[in-house]
Amino acid sequence: MKKLIAVAALLGLLAACKSPPPIKPDAGADLANKSEASAIAQPDDSAGPVSAGEVGASSETAVALPPELANRTVVYFAFDSDAISADDQALLAAHAQFLGSRPGLRVRLEGHTDERGTREYNIGLSERRAQAVRRVLGLQGVADSRLTTVSYGEERPAVAGEDESAYSRNRRVEIVYVAGG
């Protein structure tokens, strides 16, 4: 004896669905809004696997920095802290001075945490760090309109590793100069 239990169409499996080409994200007006991603359709009929092409060469135009700043664009933090050391205060003062001489430049402050803790809460912790750097630059006279922050949490480590030496290099704010503005 056979019983009708359920008949329904869901995934469009009956129709052979053609996969549309990968779409690019819409362009916005943000700073350096070049896309680094591509979306790929997932047709449920498995008829033809779609290839996934990555779009976008990765880098922004590099801004040449004076020698005393060139390799000093990262501020590091202690565990669970957004306090900026005296040395880094001096470093940020030097960056502020450079910005004062180059009105065409803007800065993006990229905040990061180590990998411990939940990912989304870490976004908040890295935002605190980026904002701490932003406040110091502001106190040194950099107009707030020239500063943006982006908070990556633990998503973009500088180095791999699960010990304090890796963690300490990942708890950081990167100072990224952007031309234009």
Binding site: A37, I40, Q42, P49, V50, T118
Partner: protein, 422 residues
Amino acid sequence: MIEVKKWVRVARVVWCAALVGFGVPPVAEAQLQVDITSGVTAPIPIAIEDFSADPKPSAEVIRRNLMRSGRFLVGERTASDYLVTGRASAGADGRTTIDFELLNLLTGQRLLIERISAAPAAWRNAAHRISDRLYQKIIGARSAFATRIAYVSVDGQPPSQRYQLIVADSDGENAKVILQSRLPLMSPAWSPDGEWLAYVSFETRTASVYVQRVRTAERRRVSSRPGVNNAPTWSPDGSRLALTLSSPGGNLDVYVLELASGALTRLTDHPAIDTEPVWSLDGTQVYFTSDRAGGPQIYRLSIEPGSRPQRITFSGSYNARPRVSPDGRMLAMVTREEGAYRIAVQDLGNGTVRVLSKGRQDESPYFSPDGGTLVYAARERSQGVLATVSADGLIAQRLAADRGEVREPAWGPFLPDVVAVQ
């Protein structure tokens, strides 16, 4: 009394190898393998014979599903209490029909005689549906074999990593990349109808929340305010997202975004970090993480204007990233104990907390739609892997990627049948 028994590598299965030619896209992606790490001591012995005239290895998919559940011991007919047999036939419309039977070998009783039919490309789904039917009949509870899991995969070394958003069947098969980027992707969340994923992408070097229709790749950027746009989750009716945004000064608060209109409502207003919102089943409240009391703890808040958050976690100094069970009675979360981050569930009725995982870096718990299992991210030998544990803590499995690392699993909802069961 049931006790946990280690079954180390009882069923190490490399899924893709057996199925060359089916569902293995040329795109390099993290394929999952399943290890059962513990199960119940008295699994039910069952034999599942190959279906006659079946052009696809449906019976093998079913065997693996039942084995992976931890509740069955799949073996020979002579050693089994139950037997499954089946026969496939091609219909005039091109669909494949499978007639299958479940027999109780101890009593001789036929427990199921059913027919299922599916388009050839949906054969895996048909096998998962049969698995769900068998599980329901024998165990007496609903299973979620015919569902999907989304997750984030990362490969390459910092700072040149590649991020992919992947959707796979619940057994890790049929993995497909739906988005890839050189900049981080995070926080995938399923819409209640299983059609869309919301996620966060940093592809423009700023954070934005997108919603993407999985089938077509149609997507929409729904939040790209200056600063933080993070942690989206769908309201139960699918019309709104709860998410985290930052003020110009960098303070994170929880908001509700109505998708049709773009209207934004602020839910929390506190100088602490408020984030990781998730909806109650009835959509009248959100649970979220806040460090307003010092360390992160979980709070509950009515979405009615003017409501005050109520703290609901009190054991330990770190409780975060809540997810509500499908019956609304339990909250899964990440808790810190002895310096390790682990998955815990808290009974929302009596407040009892139970730690379910044993790792050091366990995170991102997500309930299966039947509520019986939690999937979460763990680290093992410096590699990100996915793991599952039954909500009673008895059955644990690991799903390891063959390359790169995988994280942030999101278990999709039950889907309407795409195959006919008669």
